[in-house]
């Protein structure tokens, strides 16, 4: 078939960590390697979960895909076209087809806009001003986002809505331009459990339509397991494991993935979370200069892990792990 919807190749993003004026003038250039060589594909009709602890680079990665940060290396191709070499006129089309949903619906909606204005604003920006058309499209986006009946919401203001309803307005705003890629950064973590399910089911419906691919960024493996087709686990700027969600959850292969899954609480009394196996549990980890970046906390580390950074190895259908415990067949022979 044709190009994947989104192809990220060896992407690296770094931030300068020099702060004081003296070190800026005389100091050595130092960097935080927020994203450090990430590659993956995302197709239409698919939901890819991006999981990891805070500071692992998952938000930096998703914002770089949206061109908010400039990578220092690597490539992001959207429908086969490099997003960082887009001509100015193509940029607008790109921004139309890629939409972002934020974590906090209390901050992402303008309190002085009515729901109609919130949802129709992207249409105005993209030159769609016909009154009939904007209204029809806003109504249909609200309906698809589960705000029923949509006409009742048009004139209301965000402060009149509950958290769940606000997030639905933010979703309506994101889908009103019929994008082909949705990036959702922790879209349900601020919402109460009783309304969370509705939002998650909405994402599933969107993906099922086959028109849109969704990058779902979250540290919550429970919601990832529920809606994502595939999941990528990040640790300190790298994807350490990626694969079909069910496969990764049942057969977590990277020691970090295992620790992460063992840490998730369960509600069946007695099932409880297991005690994840980690060394030096309490350290704030930073990427080492040599070897595997999980070396300091890994319970299964060996000498090799301090020397070489492990490359991703395929261990099952679509299931890749970057860990020295695994070898490709050719290496083993």
């Amino acid at each position: 078939m044709s190009e994947p919807l989104l192809a990220v190749d060896s992407l690296k993003v770094r931030f300068s960590s020099r702060t004081g004026i003296l070190s800026q003038l005389f100091g050595e250039e130092r960097y935080v390697r927020a994203v450090d060589g990430v590659s993956f594909r995302l197709e239409r009709g698919e939901i890819l979960g991006l999981a990891g602890e805070s500071g692992c680079g998952k938000s930096t990665l998703s914002f770089t895909i949206l061109r908010h940060y400039q990578p220092c290396e690597g490539r992001v191709a959207f429908d086969g076209i490099d997003v960082f070499s887009l001509a100015k006129k193509d940029l607008k089309a790109f921004r139309k087809s890629v939409q972002l949903i934020f974590q906090d619906p209390y901050q992402s909606l303008n309190p002085r806009f009515t729901v109609f204005r919130c949802v129709a604003e992207p249409l105005f920006i993209h030159g769609i001003r016909d009154r009939r058309e904007t209204r029809d499209r806003a109504v249909s986006a609200l309906r698809s986002s589960g705000l029923l009946p949509p006409e009742d919401f048009l004139r209301r203001y965000p402060h009149e809505l509950s958290g769940g309803q606000r997030q639905r307005v933010a979703i309506a705003r994101a889908i009103v331009l019929n994008p082909s890629l949705l990036v959702a950064d922790e879209p349900v973590s601020m919402l109460d459990v009783s309304v969370r399910a509705g939002i998650l089911n909405l994402f599933r419906e969107f993906a099922k339509s086959g028109r849109v691919g969704i990058l779902y960024v979250s540290h919550d493996l429970g919601t990832i397991r529920y809606i994502c087709d595939r999941v990528a686990i990040m640790y300190l700027g790298r994807i350490v494991e990626i694969g079909p969600t069910a496969e990764v959850m049942q057969n977590p292969s990277h020691p970090y993935t295992r620790a992460l899954i063992d840490s998730v609480p369960e509600i069946e009394p007695g099932v409880g979370r297991k005690d994840p196996e980690l060394l030096e549990k309490f350290i704030e980890d930073t990427a080492p200069l040599h070897g595997c970046r999980f070396q300091r906390r890994c319970p299964l580390r060996k000498d090799e892990c301090f020397v070489h950074e492990p490359e991703p190895v395929r261990i099952g259908r679509g299931h890749e792990v970057a860990c020295h415990l695994y070898r490709t067949r050719s290496d083993a022979s």
């Binding site: 805070s54 399910a197 493996l221 009394p269």
Partner: protein, 338 residues
């Protein structure tokens, strides 16, 4: 005798836009060594209860017939001077946001020392050894006591605040969302440290959270709140395995774990009521798939479902039948609405 005995607690916030009935007639008791999980969604009144116990609410909010007995003494009758001797020393608080609980210009160790000296537990010289011990028990490097809060990560700050709460050896610890916003691995570790400390010091523990998973692991007793009212209280087993209030059943449906079969997740239709007036009947009625006409007019009293289990629902005899139906998404689709 119960360490904490809350009777008929009602709290009304007065504001320019009208009153907010935040807590409505809540009663529960905690025995020594008990661990209680107070669960509910945002706005259900759980934090207000914590604040009421520590008498941190504005004057005139707590209704006149409310009683909060702590070690047999009614805290609502205590003078401000008496309360100052109780806060921190007898009842410790682990607040929701650890960043705001620490003073940005005071070394963490000094802050803890100050509290210990003020309450006369030790002098400045003796405090250091105690702090070292506490830091070690929550998994913090002992040299960290000389550091300022900004040098700590979120998880470390939370540990420091826990160490601070235990420094005064309170007999009751109230933890308000102690791990919300932290990563799962850190969350698991911190809760474990916390549980260990509670067990070792023999203190009574009350955790306020919206996370059923946290409660399942760390609490013996669970109290579920909805719209300012207590709707169900029981042992963790009772609440998680045989919930008897439709709201608890709905909460349980929304939980997503990583083991077992992937279930359909069902949301509760509608939204919690605004608490602008005390509800006449059952406050969950507009969202409840099992409600009948009497739910609109009669407030369901708290009644025993078993010896360790109380529930405020008119149809508690039908609980097992409702539990069966609550597993199906279809049941929740047709809520009566306002």
């Amino acid at each position: 005798m119960a360490v904490l005995d809350v009777r008929k607690l009602s709290v009304t916030y007065r504001s320019g836009d009208g009153d907010v009935y935040a807590v409505d007639d809540v009663s529960f008791a905690l025995e020594k060594g008990d661990s209680l999980g107070l669960v509910g969604e945002s706005g259900s009144g759980k934090t207000t209860i914590g604040k009421a116990i520590l008498r941190l609410l504005p004057e005139g909010c707590v209704a006149g017939d409310s009683r909060i007995f702590f070690d047999g003494k009614d805290l609502l009758d205590a003078s401000e001077r008496e309360m100052r001797a109780i806060r921190g020393r007898k009842i410790g608080l682990i607040p929701q946001s650890a960043m705001n609980a620490l003073d940005p210009v005071v070394r963490v160790g000094d802050l803890i020392t100050e509290a210990m000296v003020l309450h006369g537990l030790t002098d400045r010289g003796g405090a250091d050894g105690k702090i070292k011990e506490l830091f070690a028990s929550v998994g913090l490097d002992v040299d960290r006591r000389m550091h300022y809060p900004h040098m700590f990560s979120g998880g470390m700050r939370q540990r420091a605040v826990i160490a601070m709460a235990f420094a005064l050896e309170p007999s009751l610890i109230i933890a308000d969302e102690p791990t919300t916003g932290l990563d799962v691995i850190v969350q698991g570790q911190i809760l474990k440290e916390l549980s260990k400390l509670v067990a070792r010091t023999g203190s009574t523990f009350m955790i306020i959270t919206h996370d059923m998973g946290v409660v399942a692991e760390h609490c013996r007793t669970v109290a579920v709140m909805y719209a300012g009212r207590l709707v169900e209280v029981g042992s963790a087993r009772d609440i998680l395995l045989s919930p008897s209030h439709p709201y608890t059943m709905g909460l349980r449906n929304g939980f997503l774990g990583v083991s077992g079969k992937v279930r359909e997740v069902i949301s509760i239709p509608g939204a919690p009521p605004r608490l602008a007036a005390p509800a006449r009947g059952c406050s969950f009625r507009p969202r409840c798939p099992f409600s009948e006409s009497r739910c609109e007019t009669e407030k369901p009293p708290m009644q025993e479902a078993s010896c360790s289990h109380r529930v405020a629902c008119h149809f508690r005899e039908r609980a097992s039948e409702m539990r069966e139906q609550a597993m199906s998404p279809a049941a929740w689709r047709e809520a009566p609405g306002e």
